[in-house]
């Protein structure tokens, strides 16, 4: 991994840096999310942070804003040259550091004005001063260029405007460093452009911004400098003002060049078509007119490992879950063919019946019953196989689960261990065991190695290879390009709900995929 650029002058704190984070290391059970990360932000600039999903961007910002309090990480934070040890968000806000999260934190039923001053109410003699609240809110709304009545409920304005309300809220707290986590991810082009203009305006007023974004054209348009993170480490900080920094330059930093020997070798034996998805379109369950997946076509063959690449919000999980018994979305249209014949997948039960399996990207929320043991999690999706006339054969269940414990190398004292206490890698092996036990021959694996350490990743890759060798068709959804390149025989790329390209293993490079993944609508 590359060394860390740091010049002697900066270390003395004599520069015009409003923020310096030094040697930040943050560990979650089983995973190092950040490792010796350094970040320096100049006063009054717009500083972009980019990196693949899981590179550690959001974690770094949570450390900065006190979501992870001092003591839960290693390293130092200097704000305005002063060492800072934030105990919570309010503490960092008192210093003028305000974070706006990707998922907006507005209370939908409260008015815009109430949201702006939430936790920071305008009062006189202990009671809320509504005149002052609404008047000051109106001033703030004008500053951010939002023409709405302050008494309008937050839920009644669009996502773009809600984003502006968040910024108005930040301004009300005398913000000096504004952190925005993917602020334009759910905005349309017009709203995005307005937001970027607003950030430029704030820069004129002397407010420093840190913006996390996947949209490279935006970063080029607005950022004064860009720090690239990869695998929880700082790779480099690029000065965007001087020489022309191309998208390719940023992509190269994000993906890295060396594919180490992290993947077990595999010779694919590709057979006939197993699953074909045609013209698949899905709408958002919360906004029925928003298209999440648009006219997707996809083919999986026996013995083949196919990748699905895409950035956050590209619609990969939505595509997979909507196919898997309509577990996501409304207004679903399109056709699915299994072994050449069209099939209906109206419920999860039907999908399992047709030999489909979907291992979720979020094991803890959607994959496992964490308070129950390995045995019962393994059998959960195919309990019928262990039962006669509705009664489960306990001993057979134990035997099956124990068989998986051995063949999948699940590290646990016994299959009666509670899954909530296993490491991420072992939890994932339990999830995979569950789906293998359903006798599925088409497996969709959504982020199969998320939150898993390197050694266990290797094991998961070996299992995936083994399943392919047994003639199963496998779709791997992943945000890690090296993983897709190292494991898959063919990769589809998605961007903004559309499949933007298909690349064979021979043609696939990180740069090529990243281009497809960031391809905007023509």
């Amino acid at each position: 991994m590359a060394g860390l650029p740091e010049d002697a002058e900066e270390a003395d704190g004599l520069t015009d840096d409003i923020l310096r984070m030094r040697g930040i290391t943050k560990t979650f059970p089983g995973v190092k999310a950040l490792q010796d990360v350094n970040l320096a932000v100049r006063r009054g600039e717009i500083h972009a942070i980019c990196g693949e999903n899981g590179a550690g961007k959001s974690t770094l910002m949570k450390v900065l804003s006190g979501v992870y309090p001092h003591g839960s990480y290693d390293g130092e934070i200097f704000f305005d040259g002063e060492p800072c040890r934030f105990s919570d968000i309010r503490d960092s806000e008192r210093h003028g550091i305000v974070i706006i999260h990707q998922e907006l934190a507005l209370s939908p039923y409260l008015s815009i004005a109430e949201n702006i001053f939430l936790g920071n109410e305008r009062t006189s003699r202990g009671l809320i001063d509504w005149n002052r609240t609404n008047a000051e809110a109106a001033e703030l709304l004008e500053r951010v260029g939002l023409r709405e009545n302050p008494v309008t409920r937050a839920m009644d304005v669009g996502v773009g405007k809600q984003q502006l309300v968040e910024i108005a809220k930040a301004l009300s707290k005398q913000v000096r460093l504004l952190i925005l986590d993917e602020p334009t991810a759910s905005l349309n082009d017009e709203d995005s452009a307005h937001l970027l203009d607003l950030l430029r305006g704030l820069r004129e007023e002397g407010i420093t911004s840190v913006i996390i974004s996947h949209k490279l054209n935006e970063i080029q348009a607005i950022a004064d400098s860009t720090t690239i993170l990869r695998d929880g480490r700082t790779i480099e900080t690029l000065d965007m003002s001087g020489e022309e920094v191309t998208e390719e330059r940023i992509i190269a930093g994000m993906v890295g060049r060396d594919l180490e020997h992290r993947f077990p070798p595999h010779e694919p034996k590709i057979g006939e078509e197993a699953l074909r998805i045609e013209d698949w379109t899905v709408h958002s369950p919360s906004q029925h007119d928003r298209v999440v997946v648009s006219g997707a076509n996809l083919t999986l063959r026996r013995g083949e490992i196919v990748g699905l690449a895409g950035l956050m919000g590209a619609g990969r999980t939505e595509l997979a879950m909507s196919v898997f018994g309509r577990s996501y979305g409304v207004g679903i249209s399109g056709r699915v063919y299994k072994n050449g014949g069209e099939i209906q997948l109206r419920t999860v039960g039907e999908a399992i019946g047709h030999g489909l399996a979907y291992a979720t990207e979020d094991r803890k929320r959607y994959g496992l019953n964490l308070i129950d043991d390995i045995k019962r999690n393994v059998s959960a999706a195919a309990l019928g196989k262990l039962a006669r006339r509705g009664w489960v054969d306990d001993n057979k269940e134990y035997q099956v689960a124990d068989g998986f414990r051995e063949s999948m190398n699940i590290k646990a004292p016994s299959v009666l261990s509670v899954t909530g206490k296993l490491s991420g890698g072992n939890q994932q092996k339990v999830v995979l065991s569950k789906w293998i036990f359903t006798d599925a021959d088409v497996l969709i694996l959504d982020e199969p190695t998320r939150g898993i350490d390197v050694g266990a990743k290797y094991e998961i890759y070996s299992i995936i290879n083994r399943l392919a060798d047994q003639g199963k068709a496998i779709l791997v959804i992943s945000s890690e390009l090296p993983e897709l390149l190292g494991v898959c025989d063919r990769v589809y790329a998605m961007s903004a709900g559309r499949i933007t390209g298909e690349v064979s293993r021979a043609e696939a490079t990180p740069e090529r995929l990243m281009q497809l993944m960031t391809k905007e609508k023509e």
């Binding site: 039960g349 019962r376 999706a381 001993n395 124990d402 296993l422």
Partner: protein, 415 residues
């Protein structure tokens, strides 16, 4: 940390080894599982001392069983609902309504009692289906649906009864609720304990033999599959303790009159529902739904259907409790069942159910119900005023759930 492997486990394959965590918090898990039985024993000892042994006298044990049978029946239905992550506030009103329906059928309309009981149970099932529909298929939280049910079914009770009590019930129904199995085999002497019913004693011995036999067979089968089992002394100790408790209760019952019919009914229900929750696919789906709803539905479990049927089941059990309660009082009254839902819910939580769902046992709910029954009974024996009984019961409930939250937090921090 080295992974503790059993002797039979093969060494790991050629893949890179990852250290797994050692099992943490085994003590706390056991504390939560067995704490309730220890607490039950302590409460019995406490009140035995306070009442000079009156608590465990033959007649009193019989009374505790008969007086609380309907709450225990409700607790069995309630624990399934709580395991699935729901709640049912309407059971008290359903007890009232089904008791009223039974009374109208048997007393006003002279329907034969077996048919009347059947119709009442079906009515209970329909009530459960009504609530289950709104909860499972319409998606209204169970708290709201059953709160509405609490009002609606109480109102219907009053309507059906015309705001007055209806009775008396046929003798058969009264016997079921209040009576004893006849002593076909006569009495035998038990030395200093005096005479006791032989049939009851034989049933007790058969029950003990049955418990020991099935446990032993299960243990042998597990050993056959090379699973881990409790060490032999611990196993024998557990079986011995269970046998002793059963025999003490049985001997005292035999010395008083005989086996109460409701105890026989309760034993069948506990056995049946324990099997259902442990061994049936349906029962296992209830735990899966309560443990992680999303994971359950993504595993193809028919969440809505399971939710619907546990409410139907609750309706049937509430109807059964309604018949027994009305039969015991020999009258269906407008206030019958008032507050029973709270007793049933408290029994489930004292008995080890988790507030978030996914955890709980039928035997636990039974024990929770008996803990409250013993508190009620023991305190009234020592002449404590009812407000103090209520206070004590409230604190016990709070303590039980606090223990649950506490052990979970400890387990969480050990993760």
């Amino acid at each position: 940390m080295k992974v503790p492997t059993r002797e039979t486990a093969p060494s790991s394959g050629g893949l890179p080894a990852v250290p797994a965590k050692a099992p943490a918090g085994r003590f706390s898990v056991n504390l939560r599982q067995s704490g309730i039985y220890i607490a039950f024993a302590l409460i019995i000892v406490l009140f035995s001392i306070l009442t000079d042994g009156e608590l465990l006298s033959p007649q009193n044990i019989s009374n505790i069983m008969v007086q609380n049978s309907y709450v225990l029946i409700l607790a069995i239905g309630m624990i399934l609902i709580i395991i699935a992550g729901h709640i049912d506030l309407s059971v008290g009103s359903v007890v009232g309504l089904t008791g009223a329906i039974a009374a109208v059928l048997m007393v006003d309309m002279d329907v034969a009692w077996p048919l009347a009981i059947l119709v009442t149970l079906v009515a209970g099932a329909l009530i459960g289906a009504w609530q289950g529909y709104w909860i499972a298929y319409f998606g209204i939280p169970a708290f709201i649906v059953t709160l509405a049910g609490m009002l609606v079914f109480r109102a219907l009770t009053l309507t059906v009864l015309g705001n007055q009590g209806i009775g008396p019930f046929p003798d058969e129904v009264r016997t079921l609720a209040n009576g004893f199995v006849p002593g076909f085999l006569g009495n035998i002497g038990l030395g200093p304990l005096g005479g006791a019913d032989l049939l009851t004693l034989l049933v007790g011995l058969a029950a003990v033999a049955g418990i020991a036999g099935t446990q032993w067979r299960a243990r042998q089968a597990r050993l056959g599959y090379r699973q881990q089992v409790d060490a032999l002394p611990l196993f024998l100790l557990r079986i011995g303790a269970a046998a002793a408790v059963v025999m003490v209760v049985i001997v005292q019952l035999a010395r008083f009159k005989n086996l109460p019919w409701v105890l026989v009914l309760l034993a069948i229900l506990v056995l049946g529902y324990t099997l259902l929750t442990n061994r049936a696919v349906f029962g296992r789906h209830i735990y899966a739904i309560g443990g992680n709803l999303n994971a359950a539905s993504l595993s193809g479990i028919k969440v809505k259907s399971v939710t619907f049927w546990i409410f139907v089941n609750m309706g049937v059990l509430a109807a059964l409790a309604g018949i027994i309660f009305a039969g015991r009082l020999n009258q269906a009254g407008p206030t019958a069942g008032n507050g029973f839902e709270l007793d049933a819910i408290a029994a489930a939580f004292i008995g080890g159910a988790a507030v978030q769902g996914g955890v709980g046992k039928v035997v636990g709910a039974l024990t929770g119900g008996l803990i409250m029954a013993v508190i009620n009974n023991g305190m009234s024996l020592i002449g404590a005023p009812s407000e103090r009984v209520m206070l004590f019961k409230g604190l016990v409930l709070l303590a039980a759930v606090a223990l649950d939250v506490w052990t979970k937090r400890r387990a969480g921090s050990a993760r």
